[in-house]
């Protein structure tokens, strides 16, 4: 079996230096790719079992067929998360009536962010939880999931992977491939990200 592993992270990050720029060419699939028996296997978000703010257990594959916008947060975060959630709220407002798009916020604080806390947080945000889900899971699951998201968008492939508290917001396509990201603490980056989401919508729903 011929098995070759290509690390594309750096090239992709360089190509998409600003992270969120919308361009005319097709959005790349970010992350590692493997070639197995001549077939290219692209990085995909694994199908973990998560629990939402209403105690419903769901698999990530249930969102297949829709684009989703993901972030990692915790309800008690005093610094970056509130700024990122404000930007997520902008994205929610823009896409709340678009059935092709979902928002997923994953807590990394299993110690305090119980389902009850997430439920209350969602209510305080005043959002429709069919559109924007607040998710939790076992600590190892969430950290590994964060690895799978952030491995594709870190600037330095040698940097520690996983939740880096950078506030990045990530765009995933309907096949669970990562297609874009932006800096959730930077409103201008998020404004540009609207273009990335729109471009992916145009590509995936021709």
């Amino acid at each position: 079996m011929v098995r070759t592993l290509f690390l594309l992270i750096l090239a992709v990050v360089i190509a998409y230096g600003t992270g969120c720029k919308s361009e005319n060419k097709s959005l790349p699939i970010l992350g590692n790719q493997e070639i197995i028996n001549g077939d290219t296997i692209r990085h995909i978000i694994p199908d973990y079992l998560l629990t939402d703010q209403d105690s419903h257990q769901l698999r990530i594959s249930e969102f297949d067929g829709k684009l989703y916008i993901a972030d990692f947060f915790f309800t008690s975060c005093p610094s970056i998360c509130p700024r990122v959630q404000k930007q997520m709220l902008r994205l929610y407002d823009k896409y709340k009536d678009d059935q092709r798009v979902l928002l997923l916020s994953h807590t990394i604080d299993q110690r305090h962010d119980s389902v009850t806390v997430l439920n209350r947080y969602a209510k305080n945000m005043g959002v429709n939880t069919e559109k924007w889900k607040f998710l939790t899971a076992e600590k190892d699951t969430i950290f590994h999931l964060a690895d799978q998201y952030f491995v594709s968008v870190v600037d330095d492939p040698d940097a520690p992977k996983g939740f880096d508290h950078s506030g990045r917001i990530i765009l995933v396509d309907k096949n669970r491939h990562i297609r874009g990201f932006c800096e959730g603490t930077d409103p201008e980056s998020v404004t540009a990200f609207f273009g990335t989401v729109d471009q992916l919508l145009a590509e995936e729903y021709k």
């Binding site: 915790f74 008690s76 975060c77 005093p78 610094s79 970056i80 990394i108 604080d109 110690r111 305090h112 600590k139 190892d140 950290f143 964060a146 690895d147 520690p160 992977k161 996983g162 939740f163 880096d164 508290h165």
Partner: protein
């Protein structure tokens, strides 16, 4: 104009100028918090590594005698330092919105010391785990 320059030494923890405002304190607290948070992933990765070493050791025919010395201590240190940051954030965020302005300055002064201690604990825990793992390759 208030200087935000932070002074610190190993014994005293961070100190700000006498005329520092609540806002200055808060900015310094959040700066330390933001510097510490990226360590959460590393702490979790190290915890997973040490737990895997423990799982492998538990499969040995030698029973509990095969368990490497110090493994519980290292694991506990990794867990405690992660929880310390999570607990600090929970407390800080809750109190920040509840307290009256007249006690806010003393609160911020105390929290600056606390978050510095938490960050130090995280750094020490990472160093300790790395040294231990290097001495106990799986």
């Amino acid at each position: 104009m208030v200087s935000c320059k932070q002074k610190s030494n190993a014994d005293q923890g961070p100190t700000l100028p006498k005329d520092a405002t609540v806002e200055t304190y808060e900015a310094e607290i959040l700066k330390i918090h933001d510097e510490a948070m990226p360590m959460m992933s590393e702490l979790n990765q190290l915890e997973t590594q040490v737990r895997n070493i423990r799982i492998e050791a538990s499969k040995s025919d030698e029973g509990s005698s095969a368990m490497p010395d110090g493994i519980d201590d290292v694991l506990q240190s990794l867990k405690t330092s992660q929880n310390a940051m999570l607990d600090w954030m929970e407390y800080y965020s809750a109190m920040r919105t509840k307290l009256e302005q007249d006690v806010m300055m003393s609160f911020m002064q105390a929290e600056l010391q606390k978050v510095a201690v938490v960050k130090k604990k995280m750094e020490e825990s990472i160093s300790k785990a790395k040294v231990w793992i290097a001495a106990h390759p799986s």
